[in-house]
């Protein structure tokens, strides 16, 4: 495909994709890339709030920890949490959406009213309430809460798509040919509703990273000393004037990550969903 000029949207998507590859690479290689242990206090007396230098490219924080190492390990944590939460929410959303779309009738009505009710509550509040009521959440608990509160949109999208695919001639044909019901759903309906699911997942990762950063910033998400971007910003807030690098670099990491997933998600949506122009 060389020599062909890509439309602007696709160029943005390539930038986004490049960034995601870089981020995932950095996250996976964090233990080898990071020059310091993210939790080690290098030299509490001499290197507290050390400005960026060759030794510490992103500087150090209050506990003299290397900010670059913490940002790298933070990527590992943020991406892992987001990926697992999204896997959970997409699975749930797909199952509920397919069920509602195929069963129809009162099953559909009941499921969608529950989803409507859940959607009526802002997600941040929903998550905050759960996390506040259940303080010793742990990492898996956090993933579960994030995943369990973000499948509502997906289920609506999957249901809408299922309703349209269900009445396509090839689905009728499969039924007329005596294909088993689970095959009709699994091989004829599901693959043809995959496009919006992929879009929803990609955009969802960016949203979850933002939500997790917000929770950790409030001290309700990832517990110290595990390095989370949101919590690093909260740590750096006190020294924003004297040592801005402590909050700045994790902040940039969040922006870049969310942007990358949004760029790719939007491009996928343009490509896969002809209704969006």
């Amino acid at each position: 495909m060389t020599g062909r000029t890509l439309p602007p949207g696709d160029r943005q998507a390539l930038v986004g994709l490049g960034l995601i590859v870089l981020l995932v690479g950095a996250a996976l290689a964090a233990p080898w890339l990071a020059s310091h242990d993210p939790a080690t206090h290098v030299d509490l007396a001499q290197r507290q709030y050390a400005p960026p230098s060759l030794e510490h490219p992103f500087g150090t924080d209050f506990f003299s920890r290397d900010v670059l190492s913490r940002v790298l390990h933070g990527a590992r944590l943020s991406l892992a949490i987001a990926a697992l939460s999204v896997a959970l929410s997409i699975t749930l959303g797909t199952v509920v959406g397919l069920l509602a779309g195929i069963a129809g009738g009162w099953t559909d009505g009941l499921l969608m009213r529950v989803v409507d009710a859940a959607l009526a509550v802002p997600r941040v509040f929903l998550v905050l309430v759960i996390v506040a009521l259940w303080p010793d959440l742990g990492m898996l608990g956090l993933i579960a809460v994030l995943g369990l509160t973000s499948w509502f949109d997906t289920s609506r999208i999957v249901r809408a798509e299922t309703l349209s695919v269900r009445s396509r001639p090839y689905v009728h044909a499969a039924q007329a040919l005596g294909i088993r019901r689970r095959h009709v759903i699994g091989r004829h309906v599901l693959p043809n509703v995959a496009a919006p699911i992929i879009v929803s997942a990609t955009l969802g990762i960016g949203q979850i990273i933002l939500l997790e950063a917000g929770l950790s910033y409030l001290g309700l998400g990832v517990r110290p000393p595990a390095p989370s971007w949101g919590q690093m910003i909260a740590d750096g807030q006190a020294a924003l004037r004297t040592a801005p690098w402590v909050a700045l670099f994790p902040g940039i990491a969040i922006v870049v990550t969310v942007l990358a997933f949004s760029l790719v998600g939007d491009a996928l949506r343009r490509r896969l969903d002809p209704r969006v122009t």
Binding site: G104, P169, H172, A173, Q175, A176, I179
Partner: protein, 328 residues
């Protein structure tokens, strides 16, 4: 001789907020082993709903009314469990659809789709089903079947797609084939090839066939008997040559007059005035009376049943009773 497929008083209705739509309203016919029955009618006459009803493929809000009877080899299809019905669909009664492009799943290779139907009904392994798929593709005249078995539907032409659909319908050697407008979505030249293929395979396999079309020409080439459908009912039913030579129902006459034929030069083709009435509100009396040039008072009030008009020739028209009413 008992019929292979016997349909009695089939009624399929759809309910919506404004009322009941009687799409199929009392259709009865028999299909004998090895016989081809053509069903002809305009759009909206209920042909496709009738075809779908035969395999109980009607989704909500549609429903096949109680009292409708469909028997296959003496088994009452209306009474079968979903599982038992599934074993009939595709295995005993195969179906070919109108638009092959839309009736094939775009994300599955055609070989996989053929094999899927085979394995839904026969205890074959993946490999065996694939081999059978290649053989079937060869039988329906797909060139390079070993290559085409791995093609996606969009990589094939409309004609080849319809051959694939036919291969799927034939895959489990059904006794009955229902072909609903199998050539409507195809080019005229391809239409002829597909019809020839259809005629060839049904004859060779001695398969009973229901061929549904709005095109009398298509049906004429294959059918032993023809049933004409209008307003959700069969209005005339006769052996094919008889129907063409001596149509009894004014609607059939009008259809024949409206069809262009090679070797017959006319100034203008005759059109039937008006259009098919809405299934939500059929006309009173005979459903064709508002468009019929012979209609008189009785037609407006009293609905005719299927009347005997000759040897195995029935028609739903009062002219059989009162032939003098025929206006010239």
């Amino acid at each position: 001789m008992t019929a292979l497929l016997s349909v009695r008083d089939l009624r399929t209705t759809f309910r919506n907020r404004t009322g009941v739509i009687r799409a199929v309203d009392g259709v009865s016919f028999d299909l004998a082993e090895g016989e081809t029955l053509g069903i002809v009618g305009e759009s909206g006459s209920g042909k496709s709903v009738m075809a779908m009803s035969l395999l109980r493929l009607i989704d909500e809000p549609g429903r096949i009314e109680p009292g409708s009877a469909i028997a296959y080899r003496g088994r009452d299809l209306m009474a079968l469990s979903p599982a038992a019905l599934r074993r009939i669909r595709g295995a005993e009664i195969g179906m070919v659809f109108q638009d092959p492009g839309a009736s094939l799943n775009p994300v599955l290779k055609v070989g996989v789709q053929i094999a899927e139907t085979i394995r839904a009904h026969l205890p074959l392994t993946r490999g065996e089903a694939r081999t059978r798929a290649v053989t079937l593709l060869e039988q329906v005249g797909v060139p390079d079947p070993e290559l085409r078995v791995d093609a996606y539907p969009h990589e094939l032409s409309g004609g080849l797609q319809q051959r694939v659909m036919l291969a799927i319908a034939l895959s489990c050697d059904p006794s009955v084939l229902i072909a609903d407008e199998p050539t409507t979505a195809l080019d005229v030249t391809v239409q002829a090839q597909i019809l020839e293929l259809l005629a060839d395979v049904t004859r060779r396999r001695r398969m009973a066939t229901i061929l549904i079309s709005h095109d009398l020409g298509v049906v004429a080439r294959l059918a032993d008997r023809i049933a004409v459908m209008y307003g959700g009912q069969l209005v005339e039913h006769a052996a094919a040559p008889e129907l063409f030579a001596a149509p009894k129902h004014p609607y059939t006459e009008a259809l024949l007059a409206a069809a262009p034929r090679v070797g017959r030069s006319v100034e203008r083709l005759a059109a039937i005035p008006g259009s098919v009435p809405s299934a939500a509100q059929w006309p009173t009396g005979c459903r064709f009376h508002p468009r019929c040039r012979h209609a008189w008072e009785r037609c407006r009030v009293e609905a005719p049943g299927m009347l005997h008009a000759g040897t195995r020739h029935d028609t739903r028209c009062w002219l059989v009773d009162e032939p003098t009413r025929r206006s010239s």
